[in-house]
Subunit: 330 residues, 2 copies
């Protein structure tokens, strides 16, 4: 209809019609392409893990996780733990962050006692810093990271279950040690655990952080940590503390949800007393807890607000260790 | 450039160019409209509750739920339960589905013993049918529905917590009674509970359904149930059973996730023995369990596949009833 006014022989009209049609089709394709390009980007917001999947990722790496363990002054414990974690299902690789500056890594001894099912990479550091473990290590091939302190042992069952939970909550920190902040009337925040009760919160309790010393989280967050402000790094280095609080701020800000999902551990143990070094962890320092409240308030200034959100959810494995775990009076 | 071959006076060429441009623009707008129309529908899949929010919804109705209780032959228990549920926080309204055909509703007595904090609406039915409770009642003003059997009592704490869990999983059935299907080597499915062990599933257990006799779910699913195939209604009416299995199929199909989230109840009780009618529930019939396996297999045929997915997650309230609920050996 658009051409009836163009007086021309049918042939030419035909050609023009043809060209016109092809123009419209090309335009359609372009617009369609442009607009459908929006869909993935929306999907990304919901599933950061898709966006972040490393190119190099092998098929096996998709259903697996990497254990990152930072160690300082506890090589005997480290080897004990490395032996334990070798047997964990879905473990793809172990990255040991070696904070014993100038000290030789036990790689030779480790290899001499091989073979080991899971490769262990020792990352020698030049400075003994708390946040060394939060690097975006090139050896990291999995979406899932399991970060463990070098004095903590969690049972294979707990880890296997928690990994399956993380796969359902890949945006959040899924771990075994919940903590919370409390806002006081003065507007200053306190950091603590069950001993702090949320004002006006009746039955039950809440948490607003899950510590990364025994937790699964998305490797993409290590990438994000590299883009934190200098003020955040300065705070962590000044205190040699609070890197885990900073990660909870980062995740809460990214998701708009509670940063963590608490999985109730069936068997988690602190092996600190078993070390021959007699070294006892940073958290024994008198100032440890005070530092952590200090960090929460500093981070609120840096973030210009409090991104942490409360959760009251505790997850356990259905039917484990026995059916009693969900028996009721019915 | 497309028109240089069309020998015509400039004016006409101008007009044609004008018309051509407008055609392209119109086409662009149409395509843009059509394609951007996709975006909300994708959003809908993720958040059905947004799409389904009733227009009439009052502000209070946003953070509240409606209790739907179907009753048959247990008016004494019904009144006892109505009294109990009156005190539940966030309860907006109670809808009693009156399956005592031809029997007078106890509205007078109920009102004579008022005032009551929460309105109770009696919906008189003309046929005693299991699926009467799955109507999209016009009195329903909340997104959240709590459906309870008329012989089951759940504590206020359990309900308040489960409602907060549902608000975090609004697409799923959040309830207190998990069940599962097992696929046998013959390809025939069995229905059951903890007594059925998933083949090759080592530690712990799984569930693939959460029964709606004690559960929260989205009112939008009552709307969806009205669009189920006749075969589904026929199956439910023929067996006077399985409406809850059908709802789990519907939700699993809609979300692509496990249909239910199991909340471990602290206090749930069956009051059946307390009724003077001596009436005992349908589930005592010898054929009850057989019927339910039969229904699972029938629904798989109707759905041309098995939409149910397994979950191993059990949710409890953090720090309730006491801190021991998350103490560990650490």
């Amino acid at each position: 209809r658009y051409f009836h006014f163009c007086k021309l022989p049918g042939r030419v009209k035909g050609i023009r019609l043809l060209r016109f049609t092809s123009v419209v089709i090309i335009v359609l394709l372009l617009v369609a392409g442009a607009l459908t390009a929006l869909l993935p980007s929306i999907k990304d917001d919901k599933m950061p893990n898709l966006r972040r999947e490393p190119k190099t990722q092998s098929q096996s790496a998709l259903d697996a996780f990497t254990l990152i363990m930072q160690t300082y002054n506890r090589t005997d414990l480290l080897l004990k733990l490395l032996n334990h974690y070798q047997a964990i299902p879905h473990l793809h690789k172990v990255i040991v962050v070696w904070n014993n500056i100038g000290e030789k890594i036990p790689e030779e001894m480790w290899n001499s006692l091989g073979p080991h099912p899971v490769p262990v990479v020792f990352k020698v550091q030049t400075v003994n810093r708390m946040r060394n473990r939060l690097q975006n290590f090139p050896e990291l091939e999995t979406k899932a990271v399991l970060m463990m302190d070098d004095d903590t042992l969690v049972s294979a069952h707990d880890l296997t279950f928690a990994f399956s939970v993380w796969q359902q909550f890949p945006e959040q920190i899924v771990g075994f040690v919940p903590r919370k902040h409390i806002s006081t009337p003065s507007g200053v925040y306190s950091y603590g655990s069950f001993e702090l009760q949320s004002p006006g919160f009746g039955n039950g309790d809440q948490y607003s952080m899950v510590l990364i010393g025994a937790a699964f989280f998305h490797s993409g967050y290590l990438e994000d940590f590299q883009r934190q402000s200098e003020a955040v790094y300065a705070l962590i280095d000044e205190t040699q503390n609070c890197d885990d609080i900073a990660m909870n701020f980062l995740v809460a800000k990214h998701t708009g949800k509670p940063s963590g999902v608490f999985v109730k551990p069936v068997d988690i143990r602190n092996l600190e007393k078993d070390t021959n070094s007699g070294y006892s962890g940073m958290w024994h320092r008198a100032e440890h807890l005070l530092q952590r409240s200090y960090c929460v308030n500093k981070l609120v200034n840096i973030y210009d607000g409090m991104p942490l959100k409360y959760s009251n959810i505790m997850i356990s494995q259905f039917g484990f260790p026995n059916y009693a775990n969900h028996k009721n009076k019915m």
